[in-house]
């Protein structure tokens, strides 16, 4: 009797996922990202009426100062086509102000408001707890290590491209 025959009787034909599939790093990566994205999106929506783009834009404004939509687009990686909508949402919540740039009349100058600053603080808190959930099974040391590995991989593939 082989090991397989000995152990797997409960109809593996239906439920199981083959190992070579389950172990592939790329698959682990994308499956985890699906969960992570869901966690973050739903968490931000539920607890702060926000989306991750809001965080990206607000953080960029706070940390690097005001800028045109194109500038923000470059800083955050949001496509300039999609930036319009994000800024509409943010302006609708009074978190940013969109004023024509006197120096270059093609531009809108985007500034963060006081409300925006408060919301950014809130978002940072919410994200902290969400990341706590995301990384729950890992020790602090493992979390740091995980992040380090991710960073190195991403750096490598960002330079290369």
């Amino acid at each position: 009797m082989t090991a397989a025959e000995a152990t797997d009787m409960p109809d593996d034909g239906a439920l199981r996922t083959p190992d070579r599939l389950r172990r592939r790093t790329s698959r682990l990566l994308s499956q985890l990202t699906v969960r992570s994205d869901r966690l973050i999106n739903e968490g931000l929506a539920a607890r702060a009426d926000a989306r991750k783009w809001h965080y990206a834009v607000l953080a960029s404004l706070q940390d690097l100062g005001p800028g045109s939509q194109a500038t923000l687009s470059r800083r955050t990686g949001i496509y300039r086509s999609d930036m319009v909508g994000v800024l509409n949402e943010l302006a609708g919540r009074d978190l940013v102000e969109r004023t024509p740039d006197p120096d270059d009349r093609r531009r809108n100058l985007i500034t963060i408001s006081d409300r925006g600053r408060r919301q950014l603080r809130r978002l940072d808190q919410v994200l902290d707890t969400l990341h706590d959930e995301l990384l729950a099974p890992l020790s602090p040391y493992e979390r740091a290590q995980f992040t380090r590995l991710l960073t190195r991989l991403l750096d490598h593939h960002t330079r290369a491209s």
Copy 2:
């Protein structure tokens, strides 16, 4: 003069991404996954005229035996709505056979063909080299560790949901 004033002169307002954004694990995760998915998709398309679902279905058939479309859907995580298309592609390449199940006339029984088995071997090779590219900057030990951490995280979030 503050540290920031001392160091940042080259117009950080435009190009830089704020640190709190760049460091968030969830963001690292999704950005890396974008690159990873691209690498895998393009690699499989270019080197084996395949998509990742082909691999998932073929591996499932080879390792766990033939099954209905619904079964394959459960094994691979591909939605049964999308399974139709994937099996059309596979059948069009003569990698699987779709025959009506005599025992249950609602079902199609899917079987892997010899060509399918050969293609699966090829896909495994291609995926190995692609993962080598994906994990290039990491040592063997670090790769193992990375995979272990990913697995633990994914397990945690799969049970929880």
